[in-house]
Symmetry: C2
DNA sequence: TCATGATCGATGCAGTTGCATAGACACAGA
DNA sequence: TCTGTGTCTATGCAACTGCATCGATCATGA
């Protein structure tokens, strides 16, 4: 299936362009931005929710948050309604960093996608891609072992 | 840019579905298949060429080939025309394994893509994605540090 | 022929990921 | 209340990745 192999390669290529751009500016990896951005627009979130939104594996996110907390970008707050859990919130520094990353990130995305497709085709692409990870209405989220990256939920 | 974030997430989701499927059957990870497949249809290749076709990082491919050679799936042959280099060839076992993987792989791809898009849309998607990693004709392949995953070349 | 610079591929090391599982708590039913 | 089952998050360990760099070879031009 052509679409499959191109999906893999196109993402690899685009991701690489963007990560190199961030690295070249001495900025942290992409997921840091994604986490900060989710937190900024949705407010403090439970790790579980972040995990769904970002399609990250649970253990992976857990350690990502460790690193980000150590860097002072997010903080873990206890969660009174469920003492197993916690809330993750972006700190001032976290928000500041996100704003600093954005222009670099945006430029790189433009180079990797916008410049190659143009407005209309980019939108068409987005529409098609959306259908690849929308949860199908009736799916009980159990086709894949629990806690695995793409399992459970809308994301 | 919507297309960007969906590209990342859709690929993540689809890749995860496929890798889980392979793992569930006790089969090796995806790249092993990809390497075997390239070798099968193109004959023995230099690591450099494999690297371009698969968009893998040089050091990464080098060690992937170590593992596959150790598993008896590929063999390194010396290259008389360039003694720095070598040719990688699939072994009988390698070819056999590829054939064994294929049905599982195909089914997973169908579930991750075909079932969600249908023939025509999948083709449209492939076309759009193709434009994201084609090399632009005049590019001297130097926008990114040497040997970095997506650098250099057509792929 | 020799120096210079580029290319091919490997590798030490530190950082990250994946797997399996643990520990703490929630929730439902006996 | 107690017990069993499921959920939320963390973590030990092994495998993999990324970075920087090395050694070997090639290619070019003086």
């Amino acid at each position: 299936m052509l679409a499959w192999s191109r999906l893999i390669r196109a993402q690899r290529a685009a991701l690489c362009v963007v990560e190199q751009a961030l690295k070249a500016e001495g900025l942290p990896p992409l997921e840091w931005y994604d986490v900060l951005w989710e937190l900024e627009r949705a407010g403090p979130l439970r790790p579980r929710d972040l995990q769904e939104r970002l399609l990250l594996a649970q253990y992976n996110l857990s350690r990502l948050l460790d690193r980000m907390a150590e860097a002072g970008l997010v903080e873990r707050r206890s969660c009174s309604s469920d003492r197993r859990g916690q809330f993750i919130a972006a700190t001032k520094d976290g928000l500041k960093l996100r704003r600093r990353i954005w222009p670099v990130y945006a430029r790189a995305i433009e180079a990797a996608i916008g410049a190659r497709l143009g407005e209309a085709d980019a939108e068409a692409l987005a529409t098609l891609l959306g259908r690849l990870y929308e949860t199908t209405p009736a799916a009980p989220a159990a086709s894949v072992p629990r806690g695995s990256p793409a399992s459970s939920g809308r994301a």
